[in-house]
């Protein structure tokens, strides 16, 4: 079913061997005796400090042997000149293949070919970056973005990347960068057939501790039980910065784990570039694509968010704009032969419904959010280099029907999901349980206990819990004898932490841990499985500041009590929650409840009490009218005002390191303090090279 991208060599051929024998560039520019130009190269991809600052270290871009990535440069020619020829060299060997039709098909030169009156500022001669143009603002009008797609290298070590471009007047400009191939130890032990990545979005150490206190309890200083993730034998600390900030968002926060490279915020499976097209950025191959091509593994993506959201998309989709929902969900299906996509479950049905009118606000009668404006069509060189589907601007596409046509069984709710397994296991599975993000555990569990106020208002009273989705996903994925890569995301740990809803996000962690227990049991039965539990970043600067000194009834009578009831140190004692048979606390509104503060908070009014309705989710077509718009109006004039330390309406991500715990084959690779991109190479080692 899977196919190899063009020019990729089998793993056996690339590990420990240099990529050689590429067709030589017909007119290798390195040998030309043309004069140097005053032109400049303002961007060289993959990114490197050698290019940016002249320092050889740290090496920024790293890849596994044979992992595909694009080479790209932005050239600013002298006035009146254009780029006429270019070539990339790795360790002085040309990698461009302009001498062959197949080689030329994998290259491109993008210049500002839009309407000159619109796209070039008449006074400065610089690009304007306006809608309908090709290049970002601020470049010379004759700038060129040149690309060589789908390159790979086998030999381990640091390699020099040289770029040379020739101008129309015969002068040339060059630039130098570097990248590293991280070798794989082929004799390290058994290989991990199955890799399961649990991503607790926004889950820092405080979030884990809060769930432990609530779900397990403490007695005389000792935890009465451990979360499943606590029982994993190996734990490390992860540095989470993105390519362009110490504080990452969820797109690079996830994709850094599964590409081995730093992406800029908002970007998934790509490096930044200087074109406006969000789907033409230089790509880097995902773990799922790499292992599907090399080993035939399947991919499963399970989330409690909208499936177009940054974390799930960062397992399989290549785009520089995480908000391009139509193109993102289309690419999930269109490139399933590259990624091995076999299971996709979560919310986000609004992206799968046909929108004949191409208009979304308010939505058409069926609620579709599909639009041409955020769909994708790939340029020729990406299609040729990566073997990717070209895509189409097709808001009228019935994507559920297309998934079903491709062999996916479809479940719109939990009952239907269970029904699909009543007589066997589907080979491929699509589950879309909400219009956008699914409801959170707090509200789903309330619905199961008979209070469906929230889930009914959202229109989806029968949503599965994450552990139930995980069990179904593993059931389907484990049919592939070559194994699988799976992402299981607890998405609303982050979303509810943003909203500083101290009753909802802890239960998201509890739900997440219950899903981890399902995977741990699977790994016990399948010892060739590696399970890691981590986060993309910490969210909200959550801190467990103590516990209430008041009863729940007293809090309700005095919702503006503020800090007067915050018990610190000895006064915090040990909050005692009671779990119901369903595994969730009977109530979070207990006497002496756990109290949570936020170090990255926006303005809010704190009552220490649960909110009956979740704070508004802007992506829901059915937001309950009772939902407060933001934390800065929730409990306004009732609760105690706490001034924010950050701008905006919500708490923000922080740069704090986050814990990662590992279980199963290769878990010992995950210890110490390491970068988020290191995780990719540890996973690659376990899957390709093996581990004891």
């Amino acid at each position: 079913m899977h196919r190899s991208p063009l020019f990729r060599r089998p793993l056996a051929a690339v590990i420990g061997n240099a990529l050689v024998g590429a067709a030589l560039f017909g007119t290798a520019l390195a040998g030309l005796a043309s004069p140097a130009s005053a032109a400049t190269v303002s961007r060289l991809t993959p990114p490197s400090e050698l290019f940016s600052s002249g320092q050889a270290a740290p090496v920024i871009a790293r890849f596994l042997p044979g992992q595909l990535f694009d080479l790209q440069a932005t050239v600013r020619p002298d006035a009146g000149q254009t780029v006429t020829n270019f070539s990339f060299y790795v360790d002085d060997q040309p990698v461009s293949q302009l001498g062959t039709p197949a080689g030329r098909a994998r290259t491109s030169i993008v210049t500002e070919t839009g309407d000159a009156a619109l796209c070039i500022d008449a006074d400065s001669g610089k690009t304007t970056g306006k809608s309908g143009c090709k290049l970002v603002a601020g470049l010379p009008g004759n700038a060129a973005v040149v690309s060589q797609r789908a390159y790979s290298k086998g030999a381990a070590g640091v390699h020099e990347l040289k770029f040379i471009a020739q101008m129309s007047d015969g002068t040339r400009v060059s630039a130098i960068g570097n990248f590293e191939i991280i070798g794989v130890d082929k004799d390290a032990g058994k290989t991990a057939k199955n890799i399961i990545v649990f991503l607790g979005d926004g889950m820092g150490a405080a979030h884990r501790t809060a769930a432990r206190i609530i779900a397990k309890g403490y007695a005389q200083g000792k935890a009465k039980g451990l979360l499943t993730m606590d029982t994993f034998p190996d734990t490390g600390m992860v540095m989470t910065a993105s390519l362009n900030s110490i504080v990452t968002d969820s797109a690079p926060g996830m994709q850094n784990y599964v590409t081995g490279n730093k992406a800029a915020n908002n970007q998934e499976g790509v490096f930044p570039d200087d074109t406006l097209d969000a789907f033409d950025n230089p790509r880097v191959e995902y773990l799922s694509e790499y292992l599907h091509t090399l080993q035939g593994k399947s991919l499963g993506v399970v989330t409690t968010a909208d499936v177009f959201d940054a974390t799930p998309a960062s397992m399989a989709v290549h785009t520089s704009a995480r908000g391009n929902g139509t193109g993102i969900v289309d690419q999930f299906l269109d490139d399933r032969d590259l990624t091995g996509l076999t299971v996709l479950m979560g919310g986000g049905r609004k992206w799968f419904l046909p929108n004949g009118g191409d208009s979304t606000s308010p939505q058409p009668a069926n609620g579709s959010q599909r639009r041409s404006a955020n769909d994708y069509v790939l340029p020729d060189d990406v299609v040729a280099g990566w073997g990717a589907s070209r895509g189409a601007l097709d808001p009228a596409r019935d994507l559920i029907a297309d998934f079903q046509g491709a062999g996916f069984a479809y479940a719109p709710d939990k009952s239907a999901l269970d029904g699909l397994f009543a007589h066997g296991r589907p080979k491929q599975l699509l589950g879309l349980f909400a219009y956008s993000n699914m409801n959170v555990a707090y509200d789903k569990i309330a619905g199961r206990r008979g209070d469906g106020t929230v889930v009914d208002a959202f229109g989806f009273p029968d949503q599965p819990m994450l552990d139930e989705m995980t069990a179904r996903a593993l059931d389907v994925l484990s049919q592939n004898r070559n194994g699988f890569v799976a992402l299981i995301e607890g998405a609303s740990i982050d979303k509810q932490a943003h909203l500083m809803d101290s009753d909802r996000w802890p239960l998201e962690v509890v739900e997440f841990d219950r899903a981890i227990a399902v995977a741990k049991a699977f790994a016990e039965d399948h010892p060739d499985t590696l399970v890691i539990v981590t986060a993309d970043h910490e969210c909200s600067g959550a801190a467990l500041i103590g516990a209430s000194t008041a009863t729940a009834a007293s809090l309700a009578e005095h919702p503006d009590a503020g800090s007067s009831i915050v018990g610190t140190y000895d006064a915090a004692k040990f909050p005692k929650y009671v779990l119901a048979d369903d595994g969730y606390p009977q109530s979070t509104n207990i006497d002496g409840k756990l109290l949570i503060g936020y170090g990255a908070n926006a303005d809010r009014y704190e009552t220490w009490l649960p909110s009956a309705f979740p704070t508004k989710d802007t992506q829901q077509p059915f937001p309950p009218s009772q939902s407060p718009a933001d934390p800065n109006v929730r409990n306004k004039d009732v609760g105690h005002f706490i001034a924010g330390q950050v701008p905006g309406d919500q708490a923000v991500h922080t740069a704090t390191d986050i814990p990662l715990s590992a279980y199963g084959l290769g878990s010992h690779l995950f210890h110490g303090v390491f970068d988020n991109t290191d995780v990719f190479f540890k996973l690659g080692q376990a899957a390709v090279g093996g581990a004891d």
């Binding site: 308010p362 404006a373 229109g459 309700a556 059915f622 718009a629």
Partner: protein, 192 residues
């Protein structure tokens, strides 16, 4: 989980409901800028004779089916009839002459920055001023009520590319109040 304790319910009752409607209940946060013909200052009584109350929550079938949203039979049967609906005027960065949008919860539409990616609820409707096609209606904050003839079916607002599943053509009394408000706002602007 005891999500609705009596104490909490009591607390919620005290909140001056900035977000309190769409299920046909009531609101308490009308502003002084809202003309009497549109104001919601207390629990509304039954609509006038010949007018039917339409709630946003009654527009689409719930729970949602296996695919897209589906209009309710109630919405279909009210097509062409006079209705009263209570909601919030969508604050539009670039107002459209002759109409505005009515949403079940406070919302803003940033056409310039967000294009159409502003996530207005699916049940948002368009309210048209039949005799004021060139009128820019000033922003009204808080809950308002509009009365007019309901038209079910996709309606696109010129220039904005926005499409709604239904629209309401205002009754004369409500429209007169808005036209007067618009004239006064224009005069104040001119005086400045």
């Amino acid at each position: 989980m005891q999500r609705f304790t009596l104490a909490l319910a009591g607390l919620l009752a005290l909140i001056p409901a900035p977000f309190a409607h769409a299920n046909g209940a009531t609101g308490t946060s009308a502003t002084t800028h809202v003309p009497a013909a549109l104001a919601v200052t207390r629990r509304l009584g039954a609509p006038p004779a010949g007018v039917t109350e339409l709630k946003f929550a009654d527009m689409f079938k719930l729970p949602v089916g296996p695919k897209g949203l589906e209009p309710t039979d109630r919405l279909r049967t009210l097509d062409g009839k006079r209705v009263r609906i209570v909601g919030y005027m969508v604050q539009q960065e670039l107002p459209v002459a002759g109409s505005f949008m009515l949403s079940p919860l406070p919302a803003s539409a940033g056409d310039e920055d967000e294009s159409l990616a502003d996530d207005l609820p699916a049940s948002t409707i368009i309210v048209q001023l039949p005799n004021g096609p060139g009128t820019i209606v000033p922003d009204l904050h808080g809950l308002i009520r509009v009365t007019g003839v309901l038209h079910v079916g996709a309606t696109e607002v010129a220039r904005t590319e926005r499409v709604a599943a239904a629209r309401v053509t205002l009754d004369a009394r409500t429209e007169r109040a808005l036209l007067r408000l618009a004239r006064e706002a224009a005069a104040r602007k001119k005086a400045r």
